[in-house]
Symmetry: C2
Subunit: 303 residues, 2 copies
């Protein structure tokens, strides 16, 4: 049904910021390169884990341009482009296409609540018509715990039916296996990624496209390996380790925790900075997390 | 304690759009002028009722510039400038100050949920430091039913204490009288506006600054009059009429309903358009509303 060349692990790369919370583009690009070198199949810059929605439209376009100009191939980039304002979404999406990005990850408009499926359909239709580019490949970003606004099965079906070449996949960050299972069963061939580390193997077995998940920022190799070898004998064991790794710091806000783990792995405290409204995780808390997750032997120090 | 020259009715003006959902600036400016001519003390362009968060940063700066260039005095403008991205908020706020706006209505960063008071405090502190302008007057925009992220009494107190000349007021759209009462009692002199039509008189009696409310888009005169004459004998009667008027269409999404009422008052169907994800209210539904609200005799046909 759909045409989604994107498969495997797409990492919602953390966005490095300096102590003034401005983008630290050099550190960010270094991190992006490392994720790909470790086996990630692609990247989703400006996902929720990237603090995307804390960066301005100008910052996002400027950073993405620099990433591609630095030589990171755009074909395997699926940047987040969904904003609360329709016209900002159009601008970011056009910019991503102009750079050659293979797809975009699109949040629904998320400020107004209790909007209808019809209203969301018209919003996506309007974005698609305004962008007006046959190369556009949209992955719907379903993350109701944060955006509050999400995609029903009916809405997904309407969008696929109306725009079969354009609406080619989805990231399900509901954390609800029944929802992802229903999507996988209802739309074979649709590129459905899970946003939950723990659901990766189950989703791949039902035809899932892979995973876009936060924890892959610190264990890209193991998560990519599960995507590549999920039919192997040790797939269950791989999944169990990844799940346990993630659950070890489930009580912490993921973005500050992951940034401190990167700071630890790189021995680079600058990685601990976040942009408000997030707060940095203290080094003492970070040390506690690191002490626990080391046991899984999944982490690797960047060269 | 604070220095808030803004008092009375500040209307979150509806944003006219054409059939392609692009801003219809001429109609919008005409509406803004009419609201002021009818007695509104000021305007809040780009509030929730304005569909503000459906318009891009570029659209918002361009429109506000045109409004001021058209001769609408900026001293009584309190445009909404709070975005999910800190740096977009800074850009819109600086632009409003450059135009001479007397204040800004600032949403907290609203994408990430479950953020802490400390994180929100740092976000506002960072905006204030980055804008770096003594003329800045911020009205905090508390609208938890929509933004989901809001202001606790502790957070308000911290912000007032740290920035007494800058954080001078708040709009409370919680709809919760106990919350507004607590704010009015805790912070005398703070410019606390109610976002709820029905709480206007009660809030004025406790020292409230006035109202920023949706329904004033169609009955600006009567709402402004209550702000001006709330100590008069007929204040209760005025409030009762306004409350009944609003409750008549409480079951409808307010923005499409109010736009259709404006379309009716102006005999101008172009006013019915909305930007997705909102849907226009059908004319039949609008006729039902109009038939009911006519009984209150509060509406006036623009000249």
């Amino acid at each position: 049904m759909s045409d989604h060349p994107m498969q495997g692990l797409y990492v919602p790369a953390l966005t490095a910021v300096d102590r003034d919370s401005n983008p630290d583009v050099a550190r960010w690009i270094e991190h992006c390169r490392w994720l790909l070198a470790e086996g990630a199949h692609g990247l989703c810059p400006f996902g929720t884990t990237s603090e995307a929605n804390s960066f301005s439209i100008d910052e996002r376009t400027d950073m993405l341009t620099q990433l591609v100009e630095a030589g990171v191939g755009p074909a395997n980039l699926m940047p987040g482009t969904g904003c609360s304002a329709l016209t900002d979404t159009v601008r970011l999406t056009r910019h991503a296409l102009d750079l050659g990005c293979g797809g975009v990850l699109m949040l629904p408009p998320f400020y107004y609540k209790a909007v209808t499926d019809e209203g969301l359909f018209r919003s996506f239709a309007e974005v698609i018509e305004r962008v007006g580019d046959d190369r556009l490949r949209i992955y719907l970003y379903h993350i109701p715990p944060v955006a509050q606004v999400g995609f029903s099965l009916n809405l997904i079906e309407r969008l696929i039916t109306a725009y079969p070449k354009t609406v080619v996949g989805l990231k399900d960050s509901s954390g609800d296996w029944n929802n992802l299972k229903a999507i996988l069963n209802a739309f074979p061939g649709f590129g459905a990624f899970t946003g939950s580390e723990k659901l990766l193997l189950d989703s791949l077995r039902l035809g899932g496209a892979g995973s876009i998940n936060a924890v892959a920022n610190v264990i890209p190799g193991p998560v990519a390996r599960l995507c590549d070898t999920w039919q192997g004998d040790d797939a269950e064991a791989q999944q169990a380790k990844i799940t346990a790794f993630r659950e070890t710091f489930a009580d912490y806000a993921p973005v500050p925790a992951l940034k401190q783990i990167v700071a630890y792995l790189r021995n680079d405290p600058e990685w601990g900075h976040v942009r408000p409204p997030f707060l940095p995780l203290g080094e003492a808390e970070a040390a506690k997390i690191v002490a626990k997750i080391e046991q899984y032997g999944l982490m690797k120090t960047p060269a």
